[in-house]
């Protein structure tokens, strides 16, 4: 199997989490969300986080972004401890966070404009160039409410990329998109990533999406959230959807599903509803593997429908 040998992007950074714990509340009402989470976002690689519903993936993102402080443990970017949010670590949110009162152009150019790094002609050129890359050059003057869901995600993607962040944190960014748009977005995203080789963290509830995109796959446990296993995904790049039929892909999928299955069994024993869904889906895995599929679930918070990867529901 071909290893990913592409060199990381110039501004890519390395981010790491060491023994991070996060608890909410106090005394008897304490809720432990993250427990001893340690992993590294390697420079210029795409790390994908998968884990059961409500396991604290969003909390993880918030801690990495600096919106929330860990109760204990250490988060660092290129060796420097993270103390708050900043343009070197950008989050692309689950739901669009484009400012509704700004046009696409104003939204995308926001970062460099407020930091006064670029202005006038230069800012306009850079912005338009990025918009062109994601096919939005004709929508520069439109407000987010005039864009489709997929366009909003693309605008959001370039609004983050224009800042050349050291790390991009993607919090289930394609959730809620219909199946067609979602696979298109996966293609756009994987191309952008392969072109820029930034350090990316991608959180998803869809195992198939995760494996398709990932260089490394981090599987999380539930209640509290810990790192269960880190798997290397050595599928060839540039990635094509056809990779999803390859035996290597299926091997990774099988292994990941088994790990997730174990977790689901534990949750099931603890009385979690979604675990039952997962188990049902898992039992269908055999037939799934027999016929490789191209379509994806739409991920709109649905219960398990077709694949074992959609065990999640918020």
């Amino acid at each position: 199997m071909m290893k990913t040998t592409l060199t990381p992007g110039q501004r890519a950074g390395e981010m790491s989490m060491e023994n991070v714990c996060k608890t909410y509340g106090a005394d008897v009402l304490t809720k432990e969300v993250l427990k001893d989470c340690s992993f590294t976002l390697e420079k210029g690689r795409l790390t994908v986080l998968v884990g059961p519903s409500g396991c604290g993936k969003s909390t993880l993102i918030n801690v990495l972004a600096g919106y929330e402080k860990p109760t204990s443990g250490r988060v660092s970017l290129d060796g420097e401890p993270v103390t708050g949010p900043g343009p070197d670590r950008l989050v692309v949110f689950q739901e669009t966070a484009l400012f509704p009162w700004m046009t696409t152009f104003e939204n995308v150019s926001y970062g460099p404009r407020v930091r006064k790094e670029l202005s006038g002609r230069e800012l306009a050129d850079t912005t338009m160039q990025l918009l062109k890359m994601v096919g939005l050059e004709d929508f520069a003057g439109k407000y987010p409410s005039q864009l489709s869901g997929g366009m909003q995600r693309r605008a959001e993607l370039v609004r983050a990329m224009i800042n050349h962040p050291k790390v991009m944190l993607m919090d289930e960014p394609f959730r809620g998109l219909d199946a067609m748009t979602r696979s298109l977005m996966q293609e756009y995203y994987v191309r952008l990533f392969e072109e820029h080789r930034g350090t990316n963290l991608f959180v998803t509830s869809e195992l198939e999406e995760g494996i398709f995109l990932a260089d490394r796959l981090v599987i999380l446990t539930n209640h509290p959230c810990r790192v269960k296993k880190i798997m290397d995904v050595d599928l060839p790049r540039p990635r094509e959807f056809s990779v999803m039929g390859s035996p290597e892909y299926l091997d990774i999928k099988r292994e990941a599903l088994e790990l997730l299955h174990e977790e689901a069994m534990k949750s099931f024993a603890a009385g979690a509803v979604n675990a039952a869904d997962f188990l049902e889906a898992y039992s269908k895995m055999g037939e799934e593997q027999a016929r490789p599929k191209a379509g994806k679930d739409d991920g709109e918070g649905q219960r398990v429908t077709r694949t074992g990867s959609a065990y999640e529901n918020h």
Binding site: R89, V91, F93, A97, F99, M102, Y110, V114, R115, Q146
Partner: protein, 266 residues
């Protein structure tokens, strides 16, 4: 520019042609005819109301009367003076309270207590408090718009989705960027709603205040119709207040939509 005018005209033409428009005309006509018929037949209760024909002839006389137009002018001046002062004080105060948690915790209880008091209940106090009747009327119109505006802005700012603020922080915004580029525009729709509602309240308040404390204005005009037994004049006064209120609110909405262009872009 010409293009815009012709498009606007086409819009008006379309609306005139539409079924909705003619249905509206139809219902108004039927309403007027029924009203006329009821007064003609001396139907109970409604029979005492002046007939539309009388109202129209009184209106025709009033339209040539300087006093009638002075009533418009005086009410309008009171409305807009009170309203504009309420915005000048209310908008910055609302923004301040919305953006500053501590200030809100300290000052907001005062608003919570004052808010349920209907502005009309302020009329006697303000007549005593202010040296002139004019000032007391402007004061109550001010109150009518002030609370609504402040409360709407505070509500607008405190309900801003935290994702916008987080995104703005992440992208490197300074505190003033957050205020001017996020909090302010995000709360603008609530400001416009507050202004529109406030304008409605303002008219209710000024009419009552004029009946009590004034010798001019549309409210007084209506009251004089009652006192002098000129019943058609009452109806003329009522209709004038309705029209004045409608156009003031329409003006606010027009100005408001200029400031919030992203809201009507479907």
């Amino acid at each position: 520019m010409n293009d815009r005018i012709s498009r606007a005209l086409a819009g008006i033409k379309n609306r005139t042609r539409s079924r909705t428009f003619w249905r509206g005309i139809f219902s108004l006509t039927v309403f007027t005819l029924l009203w006329e018929l009821c007064t003609y037949l001396k139907a109970p209760i409604i029979g005492n109301v002046p007939a539309p024909s009388e109202v129209v002839s009184t209106l025709a006389v009033q339209l040539h009367n300087t006093y009638y137009w002075l009533s418009w002018k005086d009410s309008m001046i009171r409305i807009f003076t009170g309203f504009i002062i309420a915005q000048i004080i209310g908008v910055p105060l609302g923004l301040f309270l919305g953006a500053n948690d501590r200030a809100r915790e300290v000052l907001f209880p005062i608003f919570e207590i004052m808010r349920p008091v209907p502005p009309l209940a302020w009329v006697p106090v303000s007549v005593i408090f202010w040296p002139s009747a004019e000032m007391s009327m402007i004061f109550v119109t001010f109150l009518g718009a002030f609370f609504t505006v402040v409360l709407n802005i505070v509500e607008g700012i405190t309900s801003i989705d935290v994702r916008y603020i987080r995104a703005a922080h992440s992208l490197g915004s300074s505190r003033s960027d957050i205020f001017w580029r996020v909090l302010l525009p995000a709360s603008l729709p609530s400001v416009v709603v507050g202004m529109t509602v406030g304008m409605g309240i303002t008219w209710a308040v000024v009419v009552a205040a004029e009946m009590v404390a004034s010798k001019t204005g549309l409210g007084y005009l209506t009251w004089r119709g009652y006192v002098a037994g000129e019943f058609p004049l009452i109806v003329v006064g009522m209709m004038s207040i309705g029209i004045a209120g409608y156009f003031s609110s329409a003006l606010i909405r027009l100005v408001g939509s200029r400031f919030t262009p992203w809201l009507k872009t479907r």
